[in-house]
Amino acid sequence: MSVSSSTPTTVTNRFRWRIVDIVVASVIGVASGLIFLAWNVGYVGPSTLLEPLLPGLQGLLDGPWLFAGVLGALVIRKPGAAIYTELLAAVVSALVGNQWGGFLTLEAGFVQGLGAEIIFLIFAYRVWTLPVAILAGAGAALAGGINNLILWYAGADVTFTIVYLISTVISGAVIAGLLSWLLVRALAATGALDAFPAGREVRQRV
């Protein structure tokens, strides 16, 4: 009773998340969360070295907390991917516990993810090039930086504020933007991203 004329392809909505999108975004988020956990402790050393040089320079160390969203978005390429991955990484960090408390960790994750998300949104989720990745990293940093200034460096003066914002944006652009982009390229080359556009672009038939 099933007479079909052609391949029954459901029209796949470019913006709809497939199950594999959700699960892989989650995996990336959780893996990033582990890096957050390591960095929650690891940044203390470099930070005490950098601060005396110029207060605010510790913003250069923010990158490792910002890459999750950019990485997730570059792989998944769906609306909300940056927020979702960054937030999930923050959930891991919050569940294990850190010096910022659960709610503020989640809040920071959301804000940082949002910073990256807005950049991808501006490009209508169509452009996934290196410059856009760098912008997104910087966007995450700017959003996260402002958030930190309000909540954690409330007592800071103007010099600190400016130095901090500039250094965190540099860190975001390089670590969260450039490095994430390179990482996605390396991942795609292994074939692990074959289920995603980022992986299919580089795939060759054998």
């Binding site: 009773m1 099933s2 459901t10 074959d194 060759q204 054998v206």
Partner: protein
């Protein structure tokens, strides 16, 4: 909307019919079509055994039937219908247990894992727990509902995966090699569990397995895939009797058609290469698993380590191969094997292991490192610093012998289960270790590759190396004339 009827605990599933017409599939990363022009009709309640050589497309076909082959993973043609509906629209009517039970555990607790499918189908809460207990009982998995899913042995995980699908009460149950890696008792138990389930629910059943003998009593139809299409289809006795010869030649395990065995060992066995001394092995430091009375691995001979699931065979293999330290006691290499290396094997640098102690892991995916099949075979020789021409020669030979040439540029992870297994065996052979430890080298292999693998191991043995094989496959033990070492019979 009648809550009453939804709550009837024993509402049987409606057996589902499968209609396949002119169906074909080409994986996104492949030029060749995996399957083409497949036409089949499976009636409700039929019990089908799906056979075919390794790489013939069995896993691909059953995924398509279950509706989990994503439209963007490749190209398709023709149609598949489950009782008239598209497989993707009929989710829940078909339940699929994938080839690898380890990678399909979703949740942390046994009870939740079994309940997961029911939740997705919108089964009411009380009904779910009723079904969970029933399913666990049906498959014979007797553990508390809050037991952690990662603390189960291989065989238990396989049963869990089965229970998770049974609880959904699908009208069609599809099992992809449900008993690979189980000990012989486990195979029978899982098979009986499946038989019980289809008996009680009347569901349609499709099983993919290489070993026909175990499943023959349960199924009433055999379908054979080869060369991208269906080559035989009918009642088991008829197919296996009339086409047995031909099928056996193409690699199907047909009862009564034994694959060719390698010639018996001709050279006298040499000296001992590795022996153990009061060895106790542990996978995780501080948690000893098994004590080994005394084991000797001899030049030019084969040793088979057998025993039930979870006895510690793999752990012993890893310890013998110098990959993990013993919990206590020693692995003693002969001076011929050590050849200049001091201390115990687990202290040797990894490069030194390559030519001395090779190991093939139980789970092939755990050992893959490179981007292409060819690259994978080159890893070891390259680490040894061999000349390019030598590397190329070795790799070509192995690609050819294990019939992987067609896939030389493919990504190792996209290979079929059996192809992956062959690849990791080939990768270990590439560095020609004096002692080769293989963990389940023949699981998931069709009869032809089985014979080739065994012949290859026999040749390694003839050349004076030692072969240690950990296996549930007693034919391997016999074919290699191996000394048998049985680990833990009690559990």
């Amino acid at each position: 909307m009648t809550a009453q009827s939804a709550l009837t605990p024993s509402a049987p599933p409606h057996p589902v019919a499968v209609g396949i017409e002119g169906w074909g599939w080409r994986h996104g990363s492949r030029r060749a079509w995996a399957l083409r022009e497949v036409g089949l009709r499976i009636e409700p309640g039929e019990r089908v055994l799906l056979l075919g050589a390794s790489g013939s497309g069995k896993s691909t076909l059953v995924r398509a039937i279950a509706g989990v082959l994503g439209a963007d993973e490749g190209e398709s043609e023709g149609s598949i219908r489950l009782g008239g509906a598209l497989p993707s629209a009929a989710r829940g009517r078909a339940g699929l247990v994938l080839q690898d039970p380890d990678s399909q555990v979703v949740l942390a607790r046994v009870g939740d894992e079994v309940a997961f499918g029911c939740e997705n189908l919108g089964v009411p809460r009380e009904e779910i727990w009723h079904r969970v207990r029933e399913a666990l009982e049906l498959v014979g998995l007797d553990v508390p509902l809050d037991r952690s899913t990662s603390a189960l042995s291989g065989g238990q995980k396989q049963r869990l995966a089965l229970a998770a699908v049974v609880a959904m009460r699908p009208g069609l149950i599809i099992l992809d090699e449900p008993t690979a890696n189980l000990d012989p008792d486990g195979v029978m138990q899982v098979r009986d569990a499946v038989a019980r389930v289809v008996e009680q629910t009347g569901a349609t059943l499709v099983v993919v397995e290489h070993r026909v003998a175990a499943w023959e009593p349960v199924v009433d139809r055999v379908i054979v895939l080869a060369d991208g299409g269906v080559v035989a289809d009918g009642a088991p006795e008829a197919v296996l009797r009339d086409r047995g010869e031909e099928l056996a030649d193409s690699g199907v395990w047909v009862p009564g058609h034994r694959p060719t065995w390698p010639p018996r060992a001709t050279r006298p066995r040499g000296s001992v290469l590795v022996s153990t001394d009061d060895l106790v092995v542990a996978r995780v430091p501080g948690r000893p698993i098994a004590e080994i009375s005394h084991l000797e691995v001899t030049e030019g001979a084969a040793t088979a380590i057998t025993g039930p699931n979870g006895a510690g065979k793999s752990t012993l293999g890893l310890t013998l191969a110098g990959l993990i330290p013993p919990a206590s006691g020693m692995v003693v290499p002969s001076s011929a094997l050590a050849d200049g290396q001091r201390g115990h094997p687990h202290q040797w640098p990894s490069r030194a292991l390559l030519t001395r102690l090779g190991m093939v892991f139980q789970d092939p995916e755990h050992q893959l490192l490179a981007r292409t099949v060819r690259g994978e075979l080159e890893v070891g020789p390259r680490a040894l610093g061999l000349a390019e021409s030598e590397i190329a020669a070795r790799v070509e030979e192995l690609l050819h012998r294990l019939r992987l040439d067609r896939l030389a540029e493919a990504n190792p992870y996209t290979l079929s289960g059996g192809e992956k297994r062959r690849l990791t065996v080939a990768a270990a052979l590439a560095t020609r270790p004096r002692v080769l430890v293989l963990d389940e080298p023949t699981f998931g292999q069709d009869a032809r590759t089985w014979a080739e693998l065994v012949a290859l191991l026999a040749r390694v043995r003839e050349e004076g190396s030692a072969v240690v094989t950990i296996t549930h496959d007693l034919d391997v033990v016999e074919a290699l004339g191996a000394d048998s070492f049985v680990l833990g019979g009690s559990s």
